[in-house]
Symmetry: D3
């Protein structure tokens, strides 16, 4: 899981890479950036910048509310949270870009490729085979881009 | 989590309560019943019986395929699987009876009420507040029926 | 709106039982009413009346467009159309009242209870077990109200 | 539309009925409560209290983020926002309690019953007749509870 | 089907720019074409022609029913209708081509880019951030194709 | 997994053209392969192989459970089953690759192009025009790849 030291390193890093972080390290913005940096592997700012041209406030809410308020909550570890998100987006089946982001995010949060595949495969039961198959396609794409050999991830 | 001894006790129990279990304890039927018995708290047979009048094969597939093949797979622990299912059903928002079953199943599999609430609350980010609020209603109902005091489950 | 005299004329017509509107019924309104009367078993007017207080035009479009233009088309028989609708509403999982109506409509159009159950059961593959289970609940309710013994409808 | 005087009256009221409002009237909490009070007709606190037992933070985010950050934004009037929400929840079809709340909210924000019905009826085009019919049922229930005679709201 | 001569008559009529069909345009076909021409910016015929090869009747229903019967109704202005449609399609998240069409349609009906963005952003609350983010992508694409500088459309 | 020799045996079997598995094919695997070979036109093995690298068990369940247990059941003919699947996937609108597969599958199972179009068109009533239009796009693509002239398939 996320080691405390790594978490603080990320928090420190996020302070240096965002001009919007408030002075208070305990605030939503810093906490959201720190959590996002774990999920994105440090790529948070670049991703948020894609929203700057058209809906910058959406990016701010993603940091402050979605990740600062919600996903950073202490009651559940980030690995379980990312698996839950992968499950939900696979089942909904209408948000492939975000599903790919969170498959990557789950890996960055410390999930193994097998754990991610297990969640996606399980959705065949709860949302049908098409949803699961499209989740598998998303996973293959993310794994390939990272050089992960999916073939060796599950053994039946 | 599921203790090995409990697992085997359940497997034994399931052998006695189903006439359909094959002799081979490693088969889908027995494995599915054992996993279902953990999730339902031993109430599997009664629940399957509700399908006997109209679609008994659906009940068999739930045991053999859904829980024998998929949910029993070793690559992810049952607690994480139940949280993933709660996430998916909360996000889909169109299967309240099954969401309640799996909130109960998550508790039976060893999840704390707080972990379940965290997953449901998190869905506000990925599927919107209405989905999350209806998930909370389902959780309240399940918790109340079990005498769980939800009020003390989260601390912000 | 729909005149009572026309309604009875249509009801008589539908008694000559065709699962498709006959060629001599030219207008949308008459064709829609004829098809609806097959589906509702002659209960069309009462059902449309439930919309009169609040959205009568919705009722008119259901007759003229949905059933007069679309469902009455000659390219596919009414039985197959009702099974397709049962499939879609089971998969969507968010329109139980309409699903029940069309399970009844499928019976009225000449589908057997078993055929209807097969379609609902099949949705476990394409939309997941929860969707299929809730479809089964809808079918049980409709079958019970009609005194259909579901237990004898499928044999595995 | 919302008269400025009514808005400020609501803002003042909200300051007195919440113990959580910060001193700064321009903050999210106060703004969210003021907007919510328009939508709920002053019933905000009671509704939020239904979450206190189990997920109080969800209630806080509804005030601070959903209504303080998003719905209070100046770029679109509250009437149009409530109609957009009624459209979305009708189309999704899986959140009837929230749909009813927002039909009431649209009325409170100054929409006429006819405007609300028009949006719900329009969803027949974009999400199908079942979604629209279930939206009409929700509207009938809300209108009836308020003594609104729906029959006189549309003229075709 | 739609005669070219009638199309040009309608196109001329629509040039007299009304966001609502005038009273003297009585039939569904003419009213639907007039409303569609406002939404498509006069590009209706070309778009309908894309259906001629495979499902021409679908195109006719879009004109006669969807826009002639429903969207042309006088009870709500076309701007509000288009915003409602953008809200619904953003929330559903499974119809990107149509979402883009209606973002363009909203602009053609007189909505400002900011109003459209506000509705899409608002869907983060009711359908989750992924739905909203994918709606933003659709808007960016439409705005870019029209040379609209989205960056200056919202101010927080 | 599925042995090539068995695959060819099955392919031969399917040549004796039945839209239903014959009684002598007893096991799930063989029955599933036989049904899949009708649907895929003998292309089953190649399609399953696309899953071998990442989720081979998903491919096995598709054969054994989805097609061996469910879709091969005798209570409904394969043509009706494929039309039901096309209806469901068109309505859901979030699984275009699978919708295309099943439009091809419906053709292979003996449905006419017109019957398939009728089901897709009908979904405009139950799931809205956007779902239907995107289903039409999927059908056009499949028909074009097979040299089917869609223009001559419907006559209004």
């Amino acid at each position: 899981m996320i080691k405390a030291s790594m978490f603080f390193a990320m928090a420190m890093l996020s302070l240096s890479i965002t001009t919007q972080a408030t002075a208070d390290v305990t605030g939503n913005r810093a906490r959201g950036m720190a959590t996002l940096d774990v999920i994105t592997g440090g790529d948070t700012k670049r991703r948020l910048d894609t929203l700057t041209d058209i809906a910058p406030e959406l990016g701010e809410w993603i940091v402050d509310f979605a990740y600062g308020d919600v996903v950073s909550r202490p009651g559940l570890d980030l690995r379980s949270r990312e698996l839950a998100t992968v499950a939900a987006l696979t089942a909904l089946g209408n948000a492939q870009p975000q599903l790919k982001s969170h498959i990557g995010g789950a890996l960055n949060a410390g999930c193994t490729p097998q754990e991610i595949l297990e969640v996606i495969i399980q959705m065949a039961v709860y949302a049908g085979f098409p949803a699961s198959l499209n989740g598998i396609s998303a996973a293959r794409e993310v794994f390939n881009a990272r050089g992960i050999n999916a073939a060796s991830q599950t053994d039946d």
